[in-house]
Symmetry: C2
Subunit: 212 residues, 2 copies
DNA sequence: GCGGAAAGGGAGGTCGCCCTCACCATCGCT
DNA sequence: AGCGATGGTGAGGGCGACCTCCCTTTCCGC
């Protein structure tokens, strides 16, 4: 049974979380923990007392963003037109990637030793599959694409945002609308490579975490 | 007037270049120079004597790759069908990106203090413009895309390769063929964002270099 | 207001990277 | 063969990151 935090501890914890949100948003999930502590006006030892691992801090800092995202996603599922829902979902997701580099990194990677992040990732994958299937069954999205193709899209959008955020902050949106034309059933041409399997996809996300 | 290198100097220089090619290919243009020296069986001071800056080493190591690329590109320009040439060019480019992470990085960035790399980049941009214009004039590629869209494509392909090279080494090819469907003129849908200007594009490439 | 538990602090060890420089080794011209 | 120029070496200084641990400070219940 965890007793409530002492007042001073609570305050410093909050400052750390605020600083972490800023730093992760600006520099991605590999941001310097020492800089976060400095920004929070707190000693590095204090950061480690509250958050023994980087992942602990990450999860605490991203909780609100993730909730916000999941809420937005539900709206997409409630839309009547499957294609519109699909577009809305991706636009919402891309917009959040653009606004937060940490969220961007978080989406692209798997953190195998956190059951909590794994659960969130699984949930998002499920949402994407639902979205895509609905659009495919309505005959709007081409039938030869899978979850893995959408994850590829998320990865590549992440890169475009890294490149353009400082100079052309809306470039990702243009890229998305181009990509949507690639996904329409009416324009589909055969693709010479099979989709990635789920396992390949998973391994690739783990790989991104390991290669920093 | 540069006199020829002493025999021992020439040998060590060659070993350094070979090690640099391996390391850059495996870890990108930010690979550790100390590791390159170690791999070459040479002291770090020797590396710096031959190549005072990272860019000097980079250029020396990439010269052959770049030549190889430019040769392949010429083939594309000689093809009769403009669309086929366009596809061939991109497939060739993507394949080289997939085989060499250093080349991949090199494509995405600008190194402002090297006239030589700037020249090469300018040349590639010109090739792309020629390629694209030809395909557009033949009515095969949609008219509302520009050089910047192709550079976006190169960036995003770079990211997909980073993610998938270890688990699904041909995933980039699937992505390319999907993207090609986005570029076809037939039944193109309007895009709500304007293309990036050349200046935005240039700044974005410089930005990628600075943020490591 | 006091005592002990909870929390904070930050110096310091480790690592990998960049880059320099004073000294030593080697080559090759004569 | 000998000597000067050319080239090689690697310790060492600087940096910024990670993480630990012991000592000090602060809180809060009694």
């Amino acid at each position: 049974m965890r007793r409530p935090l002492r007042r001073d501890a609570r305050e410093r914890r909050d400052k750390l979380l605020a600083a972490a949100q800023r730093e992760f948003a600006a520099h991605g999930v590999d941001a310097s923990l020492e800089k976060i502590a400095r920004d929070a006006g707190v000693a590095i030892g204090t950061l480690y007392r509250h958050f023994p691992t980087r992942l602990d801090l990450l999860m605490a800092a991203f909780q609100p963003r993730l909730q916000e995202f999941l809420d937005g996603a539900n709206k997409a599922l409630e839309m009547n037109d499957p294609w519109e829902g699909f577009v809305y979902y991706l636009e919402h997701l891309f917009g959040m990637q653009a606004g937060d580099r940490g969220f961007n990194d978080f989406l692209s990677r798997r953190f195998t030793d956190s059951a909590e992040t794994e659960r969130i990732h699984d949930e998002m994958c499920q949402q994407i599959v639902d979205m895509l299937t609905r659009a495919q069954e309505a005959g709007e999205a081409r039938c030869d694409i899978t979850l893995a193709d959408i994850v590829n899209l998320i990865w590549s959008n992440g890169r475009i945002i890294e490149a353009t955020s400082a100079t052309a902050p809306n470039a990702w949106r243009r890229y998305l609308y181009l990509m949507l034309d690639a996904y329409r059933a009416e324009r589909a041409h055969p693709i010479p490579e099979p989709p990635m399997t789920y396992e390949q996809l998973y391994d690739a996300m783990v790989h991104l975490s390991e290669a920093q």
